[in-house]
Symmetry: C2
Subunit: 106 residues, 2 copies
C-alpha cells in the first residue's frame, strides 16, 4: 500500500518550526518569550521542537509575546504543510483531484 | 486598558468551525467522519464546537476522512483568524505596525 510509506505531516511540528523561526528572526531567547507569554520555558521549548501540542491559549500568548499576528503564523504553517504534503504525496494522487473547494465553502 | 476588552481569538474555535463546515458541505454526518477517522463521535463533536483541542494526529485523520488537504483547512483557518483579529483589533493599533515579516522568514 502506498499510504504506509507516506510520512504523516504533523501540525505541531510545523507550528513549532514557525514559532522558533519567528523568535530567532527577532534575536530573542526562549527565556524572553516564555517570560513575556507566562509559559514555562521547558514547555515552550517542547512546543518549538514539535514535541507537545500548543493549546489555543498558549499559542495566542506566544504570538502576542512575539508581536506577530496568529493569522500570520497560521498562514506560514499552512504554506509549510502544503509543501510537506506535496513532498509526501503518492504519485498516483492527481493534484487537481484534491477537494479544496469544500473547505472554501466552510 | 484596551487589551482587557479584546476578545481572544482561539485556534480551536476557528478550526472547529472549518472542520464542521467542510463536513456539512459534503453532506456527511459526524458518525461517518468519526468512523472513517477512527475518532470517537463525542470527541469529534467537541472538536467541531471548539471545546477541545485537536491533537495533530487527530487533525490529520479527520482531514483524511474528509478527503481535504490539511493545508487547505489551515489556510481557511488562517483567513478566519485574520478576520477575527481585524474585528477585535483596538483602534490604537496601526495595521502596518504588525510584524508579519518575521514570520515569513521562519
Amino acid at each position: 500500500m502506498v499510504k504506509e510509506v507516506e510520512a504523516l505531516v504533523l501540525l505541531r511540528e510545523e507550528l513549532g518550526d514557525v514559532l522558533r523561526g519567528a523568535r530567532r528572526a527577532q534575536g530573542r531567547t526562549l527565556r524572553d518569550i516564555s517570560g513575556t507569554a507566562s509559559v514555562s520555558l521547558g514547555y515552550l521549548s517542547e512546543i518549538e521542537r514539535g514535541e507537545k501540542e500548543a493549546s489555543s491559549e498558549l499559542l495566542s500568548a506566544v504570538c502576542e509575546a512575539l508581536e506577530v499576528p496568529m493569522s500570520a503564523v497560521l498562514s506560514r504553517v499552512a504554506e509549510r504543510v502544503e509543501l510537506a504534503e506535496q513532498a509526501s504525496a503518492p504519485v498516483a494522487l492527481p493534484v487537481g483531484g484534491r477537494r479544496t473547494d469544500v473547505v472554501s465553502a466552510a
